[in-house]
């Protein structure tokens, strides 16, 4: 146990804060279905720096969650299949890793928090059992050590009387507490990367604030990186360092949080901001993005947003815009043919 921990910390020392921990390159995850092939994730690029938080925003059906599941190798195959691209975690391509290797990575190096804590926890095991399982498997703890570890994890995530709660079942806990248990499970092996898929969407605002504060606090203490998937732009603004905006299986805009919120460039991102009721004055009409997200079976040619975009032209129909820097050296990248016109939106 001690040796494995030493080995792990030696490994960790290689990655310094601010260096690239995870890089997703041109990832494509497709699904076979009745209507043909659904290109749920179709050319996603982003990187996560050590010790930082990347926010991924976009509406339902844009491929946020499938990207996350691809990183962990959890996409059911078939019907899903890997159609191209790389997922480099500390330089290792996870797309090529064996199932046995993925099992070592999952829960130990990369772990995940799911949206709905009631369905993600097993109702027939105590919460303690579910936390103990990961540390016994990955870190070789014996039962007593694992139980003590589970209790200390519950304490860390702020669950009152952890000695009693460790023997309780998920149904005995409230929604906020269940999400804390999920976080305790995900954090039990001190992973380097935590993927949180809509961790607070099912929670009330006051509980959401507690859970987000907990994640950022743990991140600061453990130096871990976080990928936060959400559709709530308020949560993104308050908790992330970088933001990737996804639309129809692609990243359409990427940059640091201040430049994305300060000067959104893509017509889709601009549309998202305009439809927020927070930013509208009383009595003002909300701006909307007309139409709906296209189905993954039939994405439009060229730019995928063109069917809902006010600026769409012939070029958008024929040519797919590449993700390029808006101003050189800014690191703020956008995929749009009409950047200058978009500034006037």
């Amino acid at each position: 146990m001690a040796t494995s921990n030493q080995a792990r910390s030696a490994q960790r020392a290689e990655i310094k804060k601010g260096e690239v921990l995870l890089e997703v390159r041109n990832l494509r995850t497709h699904f076979r279905g009745d209507e043909g092939i659904a290109k749920a994730v179709d050319g996603v690029n982003y990187s996560v720096l050590a010790g930082q938080t990347l926010g991924i925003v976009g509406e339902s059906g844009c491929g946020k969650s499938v990207t996350a599941l691809s990183i962990l190798g959890l996409v059911p195959m078939p019907p899903g299949f890997h159609a191209g691209g790389e997922i480099l975690f500390r330089g290792e391509d996870l797309c090529k890793a064996s199932e046995a290797r993925m099992r070592q990575v999952r829960g130990n190096d990369i772990s995940m928090i799911f949206q709905e804590p009631m369905t993600a926890l097993n109702p027939v095991f105590t919460v303690g059992n579910q936390i103990m399982e990961t540390v016994m498997l990955h870190q070789g703890f014996d039962k007593d050590a694992a139980r003590n570890h589970a209790i200390s994890m519950l304490e860390k995530v702020g669950i009152p009387s952890p000695r009693q709660r460790v023997d309780e079942y998920p149904h005995q806990l409230s929604g906020g507490m269940r999400q804390r248990v999920m976080i305790a499970m995900a954090m039990a092996c001190s992973p380097q990367l935590l993927i949180a898929d809509e961790p607070t969407t099912a929670l009330d605002v006051t509980i959401q604030a507690q859970v987000l504060a907990l994640i950022t606090d743990l991140q600061r203490r453990e130096g871990m990186s976080v990928v936060l998937i959400t559709h709530d732009l308020g949560v993104v603004a308050q908790t992330t360092d970088h933001v990737a905006v996804m639309y129809a299986g692609k990243v359409v805009e990427y940059g640091d949080v201040e430049s994305i919120f300060g000067k959104p460039r893509h017509p889709y991102t601009i549309g998202l901001f305009h439809s927020l009721p927070d930013l509208a004055g009383p009595g003002e009409r909300l701006a909307t993005i007309d139409g709906i997200v296209p189905s993954a079976f039939h994405f439009p040619t060229g730019c995928r947003f063109r069917t809902r975009c006010l600026l769409a032209s012939d070029k958008c129909v024929n040519e797919e815009p590449a993700l390029v820097e808006a101003e050189s050296g800014s690191g703020h990248t956008v995929a749009c043919h009409h950047l200058e016109e978009a500034e006037k939106l």
């Binding site: 509406e59 339902s60 009152p160 409230s174 929604g175 906020g176 507490m177 009330d204 605002v205 006051t206 509980i207 959401q208 604030a209 507690q210 987000l212 504060a213 559709h231 709530d232 732009l233 308020g234 949560v235 993104v236 603004a237 308050q238 908790t239 949080v257 201040e258 919120f261 549309g271 998202l272 901001f273 305009h274 439809s275 927020l276 009721p277 927070d278 930013l279 509208a280 009383p282 009409r285 909300l286 701006a287 909307t288 993005i289 007309d290 709906i292 997200v293």
Partner: protein
């Protein structure tokens, strides 16, 4: 036919032009009994709604906000008698008449429900998957005997177009629509009987932001055009701020603060309202949250703590807060809050 004329008679016999809010609720209570053992002994109550009083004016939107479990949905359902109230009074005033909703017989309540409709939260489970959109929207017209045959189809098509759906949606099934479109079907169904008052129970919560904005705009347009009043039940405070004229904040079955939208957002007086507002993440990375932390969860409505229900989580609670429930204090002509420390 007979019902339709009865409705007309009801609306022509104006007893007085006395103005008043469209809906007034006084001391509404809804308890769910807890029964145990083979004799189903009554061992206690879940006090989901415990003495609510509020008013909704003509063409006004009153929002009920609060966390899950505070009783806001139960309040909306009890008001329309989808759940039978345990106690209290609800008065509906169409055209200067007064109708006591909780005293109406089943038949009369059915008639009153033409004016009082509801839009449900989950557009996936609130539409029958085995019926077409046309059937769902037309059902109320048929049940109330208002239209049938070609006339019914005409009216349903008009309604579908009015809420922004294509008129050929009539023969499509609910599962063929997206979430936003389903919510539009739910809205068309509520509008079919030309109501005056609609309870919108988390009507936009399940939708993505861009679709949510479309539906919010639709609700606003309909309000202006058809002179509707809304009771808007929600937990998303930014939507509430945008839509409501007045806001009532609920905690554990009771209203703790009420005021105009501006009063509640600019100058919240109850510590719970303050904490709730401070927890909303702002879409601005430069203004970090000044979050007032609340410890613990909402207590069970089965055994609410003695004294102020919020006291166990309140950051400023004093000893007497744990002893007696505070009275509601009027802070301005429109704002009131129930707190010992005001």
């Amino acid at each position: 036919m007979s019902l339709a004329t009865e409705k007309q008679n009801m609306s022509t016999d104006k007893t007085s032009a006395a103005a008043g809010p469209l809906i007034s609720v006084e001391g509404m209570k809804k308890y769910f009994p807890i029964r145990k053992g083979i004799f189903s002994r009554h061992v206690g109550d879940v006090k989901a709604v415990d003495g609510l009083s509020f008013e909704v004016g003509h063409k006004e939107t009153l929002s009920l906000v609060g966390e899950s479990g505070c009783g806001k949905t139960t309040a909306g359902r009890t008001l329309l008698r989808l759940l039978e109230p345990t106690a209290g009074k609800a008065i509906y005033r169409p055209d200067g008449r007064e109708i006591e909703l909780f005293k109406l017989s089943g038949k009369k309540m059915k008639l009153a429900r033409r004016d009082l409709q509801m839009i449900f939260q989950d557009p996936y489970s609130s539409l029958n998957p085995r019926k077409t959109a046309g059937n769902i929207v037309g059902e109320a017209l048929r049940v109330h005997g208002i239209a049938k045959g070609a006339e019914l189809e005409d009216r349903v098509e008009q309604l579908l177009v009015r809420v922004g759906l294509r008129s050929d949606s009539f023969n499509r099934f609910a599962h063929e629509f997206s979430g936003g479109q389903r919510q539009r079907i739910g809205i068309a169904r509520a509008l079919a009987l030309e109501p005056r008052f609609i309870v919108c129970d988390e009507a936009v919560s399940a939708l993505d932001v861009s679709i949510q904005a479309q539906v919010i705009n639709l609700l606003k347009d309909l309000q202006d055009e058809l002179k509707l009043s809304y009771l808007f039940i929600a937990h998303d405070l930014s939507v509430v701020r945008y839509l409501s004229s007045r806001i009532a904040v609920m905690y554990l079955g009771r209203i703790v603060e009420v005021g105009t939208s501006q009063e509640v957002f600019q100058n919240p007086r109850h510590p719970y309202t303050q904490a709730l507002l401070s927890a909303v993440p702002r879409p601005d990375p430069k203004r970090k949250m000044q979050h007032i932390p609340l410890t613990g969860d909402v207590p069970s409505p089965m055994n609410p703590p003695p004294g102020c229900h919020f006291a166990p989580r309140c950051p400023v609670a004093e000893k007497h807060c744990h002893e007696s429930y505070p009275e509601t204090k009027q802070l301005s002509p429109t704002q009131a809050a129930a707190c010992h420390l005001l």
